[in-house]
């Protein structure tokens, strides 16, 4: 039993555009439903999470050779952080706007029977992201913001753009 039994969402996002998408999504969701949330991101919290855990960047944009190490590192860190959040909070679902740090927590929460929602990045028009390919299989609901992406993810839901 978590220390705090109030139901909460876990929101996961990365810096830059991923954070901006989450900011817009939170605003739209809060217009319709009040909720508490904890969060995990590679930046500091600006959205008033009940608890926020900062994780490493999931990729190095300038050095390809760092990728395998970073993948192992981010997986281990997000695994530990997810367990910590699950111990402290009653997490009922996860929502992510990417990128890769969402994969391990989503897998764990899905295995625990929680709801997993993934919104593929608004930057994707013609090609699928590696995270998107994983999350397409893991998520209960998978949204694409550009209609052209239905060619890549036929079972996705087109949502319009944040």
């Amino acid at each position: 039993m978590p220390k705090n039994s109030q139901p909460k969402l876990l929101l996961i996002y990365g810096k830059g555009g991923h954070k901006e998408q989450m900011k817009r999504l939170i605003a739209k969701m809060q217009e319709q439903h009040s909720f508490e949330f904890v969060s995990m991101a590679d930046v500091t919290d600006e959205f008033n999470a009940v608890e926020h855990l900062q994780c490493p960047e999931p990729r190095d944009k300038f050095h390809l050779w760092k990728a395998p190490w970073q993948l192992a590192h981010i997986s281990a860190v997000t695994l530990i952080q997810t367990i910590k959040l699950l111990k402290n909070h009653n997490i009922t679902g996860i929502v992510s706007t990417g990128p890769g740090m969402a994969v391990v927590p989503s897998l764990i929460l899905r295995l625990l029977g929680k709801k997993v929602i993934y919104i593929e990045s608004w930057s994707r028009f013609y090609t699928a992201s590696a995270t998107g390919i994983f999350m397409y299989r893991i998520a209960n609901q998978f949204y694409v913001q550009n209609i052209t992406m239905l060619a890549k993810y036929p079972k996705a839901t087109y949502s319009g753009r944040l």
Binding site: G17, Q21, Q32, R59, K61, I117, T127, S159, R161
Partner: protein
């Protein structure tokens, strides 16, 4: 023209090197947001990050930006004239989709090679972009239902 240059969170030293050369003889005014880049332009003022770049965007006649979606959508929503520059310093191709999209829809001028940047800046003066149309996010109800029902 007053040109604001922004690269969001991702350094792009090659862009600022190219612009520094252009600015040395250009009639246009530049100001740059260089993120954590190591190249500091000599010929125009620059800064690393700022919580709010909206004043710079507003004051600029046009914006040169990296092909990051967050930067591009914000500028399109503000109806700015833009040159989108594909970040060739990155090892991944993450900016290719959106750069192709804005180019194919004539929403912005797109620079795939920095050698063409000077020419694109001159084209910008007479460039009229297509109006940006956004199909607003309309699946919040589904998300709320899934999470809270």
């Amino acid at each position: 023209m007053k040109l604001f240059v922004t690269v969001g969170n991702t350094r792009f030293d090659s862009l600022f090197k190219a612009l520094d050369k252009i600015a040395a003889t250009s009639k246009h005014e530049f100001i740059g947001q260089i993120a954590d880049g190591s190249y500091i332009p000599d010929n125009f003022p620059s800064f690393t990050f700022h919580n709010d770049i909206s004043a710079h965007i507003k004051e600029a006649d046009a914006v040169i930006c990296h092909a990051g979606a967050g930067s591009i959508f914000r500028l399109l929503e503000n109806e700015k004239k833009i040159i989108v520059v594909f970040n060739t310093d990155r090892v991944d191709e993450h900016q290719r989709d959106i750069a192709s999209f804005v180019e194919s829809e004539s929403l912005a001028l797109t620079c795939w090679e920095l050698a063409h940047l000077e020419e694109l800046i001159e084209q910008l003066v007479s460039f009229t972009p297509n109006k940006y149309y956004k199909d607003d996010f309309h699946k919040v109800d589904n998300i709320i239902d899934c999470l809270f029902s």
